[in-house]
């Protein structure tokens, strides 16, 4: 069989696959909690020049049924441009470098000077400079790995944060979703 896999969300004190975010699974929420479901900890929209960030959300390709194939070119991209004032950023993190969101090096510092809409302004995510997501795929792991595993992450983690700046004029004071857009996770299997 071809490998059976899904895009999974990982969290916890140690790396744990907790949410299948495909199909009937949990939808992405970019909050300031170490989970995808809490809606009471949204990201506050700054009222002056600044960008505030969500907690790190670790995404990865998770194989549930093994195959003789190899998965490579693991990538993430946006389906279209984000609303003004919104930004999504990712960095590639080896599973051995996982740090729980919100703790020590995985905490995102709200920046008092940068605007998420400014080109070239990217946060550091778990010690790795982030890449601003766009409609051009960000290949977070070109090598990937064997799909001959069961219930296991293949390749690296895609550590992703959501940023909102004072340029966002959607109101509400806080947000936890980069709504009205799509996120495309892709990989090659052979």
């Amino acid at each position: 069989m071809a490998a059976v896999s899904n895009v999974e969300y990982f969290n916890g004190a140690s790396l744990t696959a907790t949410n299948d975010i495909e199909g009937g699974g949990t939808k992405l929420k970019f909050n300031k909690s170490d989970d995808l479901t809490t809606t009471t900890t949204p990201v506050t929209v700054p009222t002056s020049a600044a960008t505030n960030y969500s907690f790190v959300k670790y995404l990865g390709v998770y194989v549930t049924t093994s195959a003789a194939t190899t998965l490579s070119n693991l990538s993430i991209a946006l389906g279209g441009a984000l609303t003004t004032g919104f930004g999504l950023f990712s960095s590639a993190i080896a599973s051995g470098s996982y740090v729980q969101a919100g703790t020590s090096t995985a905490a995102m510092t709200d920046n008092a000077t940068t605007d998420v809409t400014a080109s070239g302004t990217t946060p550091t995510i778990v010690g790795v400079s982030g890449t601003r997501l766009s409609t051009t795929p960000f290949v977070y792991d070109a090598t990937g790995g064997s799909a001959n595993v069961t219930n296991q992450l293949v390749g690296k983690l895609c550590a992703t944060v959501f940023g909102v700046s004072n340029a966002y004029t959607g109101g509400g004071g806080s947000v936890n979703t980069a709504a009205t857009n799509t996120l495309i996770v892709a990989y090659d299997e052979a």
Partner: protein, 148 residues
């Protein structure tokens, strides 16, 4: 062409199943039936590339055509094959879609360069050919989410 074993065809969840055809006439299918009836899958890495004379995609769904790359060993041609799996997530809790685009092609050396040709095969029968990897990636990303 040797017809597919129905049990083998049933094991493949994809729109095409690959067959490696060697110069001596033997073949390796992506899935094989082992003694006792067990179905064994094979990765592309198991294909013995130097012995290869053709790499064939056999359609498993109505309306799709067979696709082949004929390999000339004098030109040191190697096949390119992978399936691009895409998971499209709506961030506002809406619909999620999965797509698979099968890519077939070849590469061969030309002086100090490597020439590559790709053909992206969509499951609705759409085909896109290009010799540029970035163009291929962009076309798949743009078109796949629009398909049913």
């Amino acid at each position: 062409m040797t017809p597919l074993n129905p049990a083998v065809a049933a094991a493949c969840p994809d729109a095409w199943l690959w067959r490696a055809v060697y110069a001596d006439g033997t073949t390796l299918d992506e899935y094989t039936e082992e003694p006792g009836g067990r179905i064994q899958d094979h990765g592309f890495a198991e294909v013995d590339l130097p012995r290869l004379s053709a790499f064939v995609l056999i359609p498993l769904r109505a309306g799709l055509a067979s696709q082949s790359v004929l390999l000339d060993p004098k030109r040191r041609m190697r096949p390119i094959f992978f399936r691009r799996r895409l998971s499209v997530q709506s961030m506002d809790g809406g619909e999620m879609m999965r797509h698979t685009v099968t890519v077939l092609g070849y590469q061969r050396p030309s002086g100090k360069r490597s020439i590559q040709h790709f053909m992206a095969l969509f499951e609705d029968g759409t085909t896109i050919a290009t010799d540029d990897r970035a163009t291929l990636d962009a076309a798949i990303l743009a078109l796949a989410p629009t398909l049913p």
